[in-house]
Symmetry: C2
Subunit: 386 residues, 2 copies
DNA sequence: TTCTGGACTTGAAACGTTTGAATAGTGTAG
DNA sequence: CTACACTATTCAAACGTTTCAAGTCCAGAA
């Protein structure tokens, strides 16, 4: 018996296609396929028949129609400032992990560090009726206009990588101050006294607290940093420009007459740039100069020497933020309890091979050759499993 | 005058909210806000009023309702095998670039290299009524069952990074054979004769053609590769495991008595692992041994020495695939012209600092750039530690 | 006065689902 | 024979849009 095909407007198999094939009503089929409680009362044979037909036809329920009807999309919008930045990837993974058990789906949008894309992306997310929004924005994120719209539509929002609690947005980020101090302390404890610092660009939120932390740690240790050895990256255009910045600044600093035995870089890409710059000037890392980064992104782990760095728990940040958002969604009716202070996660020192005691200056410190002096407990360099 | 708020079931501002606020019908508001041709006939003042109100209330059209009605979602599903692999990121960027001008939206799903996620992700994409699907799968991708469903629903599909034309799926990938040859030729032209090769894992599609290309190039140059210097990576569990694989294989090869002056690695992460392994055995790159990778992912560019590699035009692959898909969507009615042979893109040699002529055997080649501990040329030396 | 016709606005159906209420069919008890 | 309680299935309304056909005005023409 040939099933009459009414005009197919779209290529998709619909509920009524299945119903027609089964000689049943749409309702019946829906009840069975959506596992509604009523389906228990249906004849087992019918259920079987429906399932088989659906499978045969390759039926997939239309999420649009379904969500329209049930007014729940099970979707969370994720707005990443730039997926090309290795920073974002682990955060997104963490979010995914948080979402999965709750059967939520992530709507990932990449703003590609373009101001205008930011607003339009947020618009997309709103239009797609995400029930909540997670913004990943360690990077510039000039107060998108649409943030107000998000509120108007009562969509809870959280942010990862930046403190926006002043605007009553729950924020999850690493404790940059502690991280800066941690990096500085590591260098100091290795014996470095002449430490160069490459601060982040001024327009970047993280720059200030990291620098403050480093300064604080230096002061604690009774160390005065030479202002001529403190430089800043220029404001960035794209997330990977830190590499060139670090490389050039390192070379400039060497050209100046100031001496230093270690460089504390703003982030990993900058640090890798420094390593390159030092190398180009004929200096070995870590024998002649130590370098420490910040973030612990993949390239830090797989370069040689492995880069000593301060690790941000990116994955955890992502999943904690997600957790928080999901909880807010539960108590949707009550005003979402917007935390008034940021959730700061502890950074972790990852010692690899780019840091070592300073070269012996006067005293004859035996063989500054290939021996990578084991600094601290010397964790084995593994790629970050974020 | 207070606008009476009927019970808000969802937090979202809807068309009828705006209509009520304007004292107009839903139709009118819809016509204006969706820029329908009819809106030209409406009083300018009315239009103005509607726009203002919509803006004030923070109205965003419901993509679900809209798509349901218009039966077009303007969405393309993108299924990436693993976003943690730096390989995927540029491809996705390329896709994004292709999609944007056509006003299409990407629905990005990350399968996280988990077999079961693959099918369920494809299901998600189907349910969200993507009009087409792009699969990024250089990585294992064991013939998802749902691929059949994609066809049943008449959703065009293309694949990036793997040849699936035998299953009549348009495929976009780099010319692996040419790439393998290119890498080999580079090493040969530098003067290397004893070249070690680390092949990819057997379960990975790219492995075979790259190896064949390398072999072919060697044969062309009258070079016989020592079988004992040809090893394979173990089958992988996660995308970054190539690093450890390369590192261990490099150390093993050095431990064996075979000599070599260059390593042709399957991909960049493997190559970076090799660099690490060589270094741990006291060898300098490129002075004692050259290393070449494949892919040109970010870590290859920012490590020191910069990794010489064969670049895949990932971004281009992404945008070409998108182009092709969009064209197929245009002529939706006619059978999508599934190409019968893969579109192979030319790789590009990127020469950085990890490749150089082989060390002079007897003569004293004083490497000018060599700041590394002088460890005997080309043969094993004392490992720095452990 | 009624008609014509433009200018402006609205009614109602449809998209594919879900779901509470309603219907037919079938025994079984009163 | 009616009433009742099942069981198995269907009706119909709703979700927020879009869009075509059909209003309502009101001025000017017949």
């Amino acid at each position: 018996m040939v099933i009459k095909r009414t005009k197919r407007k779209t290529g998709h198999v619909t509920l009524s296609d299945v119903a027609r094939a089964c000689q049943l009503s749409v309702s019946t089929v829906s009840i069975v396929l959506s596992q509604a409680p009523l389906s228990q009362r249906l004849a087992a044979t019918t259920r079987e028949r429906i399932h088989a037909t659906a499978l045969r036809l390759g039926y997939h329920p239309d999420a649009y129609a379904r969500s329209l009807r049930s007014r729940s999309t099970k979707t969370v919008g994720v707005l990443a400032y730039d997926m090309s930045d290795p920073f974002c990837v682990p955060v997104v993974r963490g979010i995914e992990e948080g979402l999965q058990p709750a059967d939520y789906f992530s709507l990932l949008v990449d703003a590609q560090t373009e101001r205008k894309l930011f607003d339009s992306s947020l618009g997309m997310i709103l239009e797609r009726r995400a029930e909540g929004v997670i913004v990943i924005a360690s990077w510039v994120f000039e107060e998108a206009n649409l943030l107000a719209d998000v509120k108007k539509n009562h969509v809870p929002i959280v942010i990862v990588g930046r403190d926006l609690t002043e605007r009553r947005i729950p924020s999850f980020l690493v404790d940059n101050h502690a991280g800066g101090a941690m990096a500085m302390n590591h260098l100091i404890s290795l014996g470095h006294r002449r430490i160069a610092v490459i601060r982040g660009p001024d327009d970047l939120f993280d720059s200030q607290p990291r620098w403050a932390g480093a300064q604080h740690a230096a002061a604690q240790a009774g160390l005065r940093l030479d202002p001529r050895l403190v430089v800043s990256l220029p404001n960035r255009v794209d997330p990977t420009s830190g590499f060139d910045g670090g490389r050039l600044l390192a070379r400039e600093m060497i050209s100046s007459t100031r001496e230093f035995t270690a460089v504390l870089a703003f982030d990993d890409l900058t640090a890798l740039g420094v390593v390159r710059g030092l190398r180009e000037e004929g200096l070995r890392v870590p024998e002649d100069c130590s370098v420490i980064g910040f973030d612990d992104i993949l390239p830090a782990a797989v370069s040689t020497p492995g880069l000593t760095t301060v690790r941000q728990p990116l994955r955890t940040m992502g999943s904690l933020a997600t957790q928080h958002l999901l909880e807010a969604l539960q108590q949707s009716s009550q005003e979402s309890v917007s935390a008034t202070n940021p959730r700061m996660l502890a950074p972790e020192l990852v010692v690899r091979d780019s840091s070592a005691p300073p070269p012996a200056r006067r005293r004859d410190r035996s063989a500054p050759t290939s021996q990578h002096p084991a600094a601290g407990p010397a964790r084995r360099a593994k790629p970050p499993r974020q």
